[in-house]
Every structure is written in C-alpha cells, then in structure tokens.
C-alpha cells in the first residue's frame, strides 16, 4: 500500500513537471517571451535591459530551471494590469470559484442521486423515462447557452433572481463568502445550478446504472429475505455499492467543474478566477495566464491523487489487488 502511494506520488510529480515544461515551452518558444513578459509600454532600451534582467538571453534550459525555481517559491511573475503578484491575484479570487464549484457539486449530489435512484428502481415508469430523457439535455446543451436562458427567464422575464455578480458577502476566516448571506445565496443559485447541470446528469446516470445493476444481486435478495425494510435495503445495502463509482466520478469531475466555472463565471459575471483568466487572456496579461494554468494543473493532479487514495479506502477490492 505504501509503495503504491509512493509510486502514485512520484507519478503525480512527474506529470506536474511535464505540464510545467509544456506551459513553459508554450509561453517561451511558441509565443514571444519578450512580448509576453515585458510590458508593451516599454521602449527599446528598457526592453534590452529587461531581456537581460529576466535572463531571456540565457539558454532555454537555464531559463526553464529559473522558472521552475521561482515557481516552487510561489513566484510566477507580476500581473501587467494589476501590478500585483499573479499568484496572489488568483488566490484572492479562488474562494469565489471554489464556493461556486462546491455548491455545484453538492447540487449534483442532492439532485442527481435521488433522481437516479428513482429512475433505476422504476426504469419503466413514465417519470423514470422522463428523467433519463431529460438527462440527455444536461450533457448535450452548451452550458453557456443554458446560463443565458436562465438569466433571460428568471432574471429578465420573471425578475425572481439577480442576474450577475456575487451579491452581499460575509467574512469568515478573513475571506469573503457569498453563501453566508441571503443575498449572496440568491446570487449563487443560478450560476451553481448552471455549473452543475452536466454533473447532475452524470451522477443521475451513474446512480441509475448502479441501482439497476445491484438490485437483482444475491445480497439484495438475501437482505430482503432477512426481512429488512425496502428502505434499508436500498439506502444502506445498495447505496454502499453504488457510492464507490459516484465518489470517484464526483471527485474527478470536481476538477473539470472548477475548469468549467470559466464559462459560468463569464456568463454570470461571477468574480472568480475563471473570469480573471478570461479577462487576462483578452488583455494578454500572460503572467496571470501562466499562474492560472499552473495552479489548475496542480489542482487537477492533486484531485486525481486524492480520488485514487479515497478509492482504495472505499473499495476493499482495490486495496487487496494492490497488495497482491
């Protein structure tokens, strides 16, 4: 087990390194680093000085080493626009994104599992079929368009919910949160729902498939024969077996949810790091772009690692296999 975790860790570090190489090459070889790293307002002499100061006259591998060394120390350059360390800018906007992503994932569990269970236990009922048909939309509709429609219906036509922004926030542990105030929650509802649509469909389908697969199994018959109530059979015995793939998928999807927040944040003008990256790309604020990419890659790999670990905890079979 320990060797396995160790091997997995080394693999993760390797992937992070590979990604830094890709991002580095992307920015420094494909793009013009002088243009990228030096403010466009600089004149010729300033440019020349900056090239030397930034070490752009050094060989590429040396530049990469320096980039990596700075990155390890948490220095990914300064934003041209805000004149602040890029990493700090992202860290400031991270809570807004995280709050949105976590709410979206929670929504997908709260809505997806019950709907999926219903569709799985009564696959031929009208409601079960409608749920399945509806889930196709969750996958295939472009999420930005769904977001626009939500705004059009609930904000413009009905006027029930605010259309953009984070609303009133409250401070907890020195960070601003929207979920602590009523106004903030009202602002969060539409973006979170929009972000979770794809995940709801995914969780729903997984739950349904799991329920259909597990219901005819011997252990369910046995539990019934013991005289357990159907509620206990479904929610304790069957759920335990359905949960494993769902946890894995939700874990893995958390990363894409954070990445996809880029779209939702742009539609609802939610001031998270996704909106920051789009704004930065539009004004070519490359240090912020690099910092965001590094951050999200790191986040991804950490999540993948955690999910793998969690998997072994939840499913004894995986543990046994890795021991053999």
């Amino acid at each position: 087990m320990t060797t396995w975790i160790f091997r997995r860790l080394i693999q993760a570090i390797f992937v992070v390194l590979a990604m830094t190489v890709i991002v580095f090459i992307g920015v420094n070889v494909i793009g013009d680093p002088v243009e990228i790293l030096i403010s466009p307002q600089a004149d010729q002499a300033e440019r020349a000085r900056a090239v030397i100061a930034l070490g752009l006259d050094r060989p590429l591998w040396e530049q990469y080493g320096r980039f990596l060394w700075n990155a390890v120390q948490g220095d990914l350059g300064k934003s041209f626009v805000f004149n602040e360390p890029a990493l700090r800018l992202i860290a400031q906007r991270m809570p807004a994104t995280m709050e949105l992503a976590v709410t979206a994932v929670l929504l997908s569990i709260v809505l997806g599992i019950p709907l999926g269970l219903y569709a799985g236990l009564r696959p031929n009922s009208f409601a079960g079929r409608s749920i399945m048909a509806g889930s196709i939309f969750g996958f295939s509709l472009p999420s930005f368009w769904v977001g626009l429609m939500l705004i059009m219906v609930f904000a413009v036509q009905l006027g029930w919910l605010p259309s953009t922004g984070r609303g009133q926030t409250a401070t907890l542990f020195g960070v601003q949160w929207s979920f602590l105030t009523r106004d903030g929650l009202a602002h969060m509802l539409m973006p979170a729902l929009n972000l979770s649509l794809g995940n709801i469909a995914l969780v729903l389908r997984l739950t349904r498939a799991g329920a259909r697969e597990n219901m005819p199994m011997d252990y369910v018959k046995f539990a019934r024969a013991k005289g357990l109530s159907p509620v206990r059979v479904v929610f304790v015995h069957v759920m335990k077996n359905i949960t494993i793939p769902i946890v894995t998928v939700i874990g893995l999807e958390f990363g894409s949810t954070v990445a996809f927040a880029v779209v939702t944040e742009s539609v609802f003008a939610w001031p998270g790091m996704g909106k920051l990256i789009i704004d930065s790309i539009n004004v070519l604020d490359r240090p912020v772009i690099v910092a965001y990419l590094m951050m999200i890659v790191f986040l991804f790999i950490t999540i993948n690692l955690l999910v793998d670990l969690l998997y072994t905890v939840l499913d004894p079979r995986v543990r046994l296999e890795s021991r053999e």
């Binding site: 295939s140 930005f144 368009w145 626009l148 413009v156 990445a259 880029v262 990419l293 999200i296 991804f300």
Partner: protein, 299 residues
C-alpha cells in the same frame, strides 16, 4: 458479399443498415435536420436575404429591430437584426457555416490522427503502445475546455488556432476507440493472412485493419462533431475563439448577450436555437448509429 448474392439483394449490409437506422423516427428526423443545416451552411451566399458582412448592404438605422419588422428598403427581418443592422437570419446561416466548418473539419483531422495512432498502438504493441496510450490518458485526464483554453491562451484567437485546439482536445478519444477496436481485430485470421502475404505494414493497417475498425470510429466521430461545435461555440462566446470577422454561432450569441438584459432577446436567442437544434440533431443521429453499428446489440 453484395457481389456474390444477387438473390439476397434485400439483405446487403447497406440496406440492413439503412432499414435499422430508419427504425427510430427521432433519428431520421435528426438526420433530416442535419442535412438541412448542412445544405443551408453550404449554400449560404445564395439563399440568405442579405450578405451580413457586406457593409454596403447594412444600414445602421436598421439596428436592433424586432423579429418580423421591415427595413427601410422593404426587406423583412424575420428574426430581427443585431446592433449593426444585420439580418439575424442571414447572420445565423453564415454563422452555421463557420460553426459546422470548424466542427466537422477539426473532427475529421482529429479522427485521422487519433485513429492512426490508435491503430499503430494496437498493432505494434510494446513501447509504442505504452507511449501513445500514456499520452492519451494524460490528455483525457484534463477537461477539454482547459486544454483548449491553454492552447488559445498561448496562440491567441483565430479560426486555425481554434481548430488546432479542437484537434488536440479530440484526438485522444479516437485513439482510445481505434485501439480498442483494433486489439480485437488484429487477432483475426484475415490479419494473419495479410501478414503472410508480406504486405507492407502501412497497407495492412490502412486497408485491412482500419476498415474493420470503422464502425465505432464513425459513432465517436458523429458525437465528436457535436462536441466540437459546442466547444467552439463556448470558446467563441468567451471571446477566445473565432475573430469578429468570421462570426460563428457562439460569437453571435456573445454579441447579443449585452442586449438581452434590456429585453432584446432575439440577437442571442435565435443563434442559440440554431446551435441547439444542430447539436441535438447530430446527437440523435449519433445515438442511433451507435445502436445500429454495435455488434453486441445485433438481433
């Protein structure tokens, strides 16, 4: 088969395929819509009431007219106009052209690259396979939007850059599918027979292995076209995709976004409907293709 059995004309593979496909009315509807959309996109310059990018034909006075209103010179704007006074219907048809072109183009390029790598992985095995499949795993562990974002952040916007991003996002799925299909096929006797004939490797891969791996690739291809169109629209909506001179549906939607809050819904709404109908139609066709081409579901 079709050459040997003149009597069994009823049962050529193609006929069986079409009749099975036609079993689902929804899929047929989807196919009809796909054909209509494709024809509209191809014939755009001949059928649109207005060339939306010929500035001489535009009149800023016609800006933001509601659907059904008439222009100064009597042209009816069935779907309204945008802020520049462009006919939305013409804009949408031209937009479909870009959206479909980018989507189909990137799906085909990604399909060729991905299938080639997938087949090579399955056929050669060993280190080649490990290298290719590791790359596939790595690629697939990152969400499409993130990979596309990375590429466009580095390269900047533009039709070709978007296509490159889409190809890089999509190839891995083809590779995985092609490898899966080829692993099964390569153990078959006809491959052994071809090997005994000492055919060159490329010929064996391209003319013997590939045709037999086609069905799952076609299914994936259909779904991937829909995905590519969606992703392109999303990127263009975010302002990272196609440039303003070549607006796709996503960009049209983005342009109308600011007017939506003031109730001028049509600038965003109708391009959105066009996008939606296209994506859903392609998905319907893809779903049915999957059922028909899946040997496990054969009766």
């Amino acid at each position: 088969m079709s050459t040997t059995a003149g009597i069994a004309r009823e049962e050529t593979p193609f006929r069986r395929f079409t009749s099975e496909f036609a079993e689902s009315p929804l899929a047929v509807l989807g196919l009809v819509i796909v054909v209509i959309v494709a024809v509209l996109a191809l014939a755009a310059p001949f059928i649109t009431p207005q060339n939306p990018y010929d500035l001489a034909q535009l009149d800023i006075m016609d800006g933001r007219l509601a659907p059904g209103s008439k222009s100064m010179d009597g042209l009816v704007f069935w779907l309204g106009t945008d802020d520049q006074g462009r006919d939305m219907l013409s804009g949408i048809i031209y937009g479909l052209r870009i959206s479909l072109g980018v989507g189909v183009g990137s799906a085909i390029i990604a399909g060729v690259i991905g299938s080639a790598l997938g087949l090579a992985a399955a056929y050669f095995g060993g280190k080649v396979e490990t290298a290719i499949m590791r790359l596939v795993d790595l690629q697939l562990s990152f969400p499409a939007i993130l990979v596309a974002l990375m590429i466009l952040a580095v390269l900047g916007k533009g039709v070709l850059n978007v296509m490159l991003a889409l190809v890089l996002v999509e190839w891995a799925r083809y590779a995985r599918t092609a490898r899966g299909a080829a692993l099964v096929e390569r153990r078959r006797e006809y491959i052994e027979a071809a090997e005994c004939l000492a055919l060159p490797r490329w010929r064996l891969l391209a003319f013997h292995l590939l045709p037999n791996c086609m069905p799952p690739l076609i299914v994936i291809g259909t779904i991937q076209i829909a995905r590519a169109i969606t992703l392109e629209a999303t990127l263009s909506f975010l302002g990272l995709g196609v440039p303003i001179t070549e607006p796709s549906l996503g960009l049209l939607i983005a342009n109308g976004y600011q007017y939506m809050l003031s109730g001028k819904y049509w600038i965003s709404f109708y391009p959105g409907i066009a996008l939606l109908v296209t994506i859903i139609a392609i998905n319907l066709v893809g779903d049915q293709l999957r059922d028909v081409l899946n040997p496990r579901l054969k009766r």
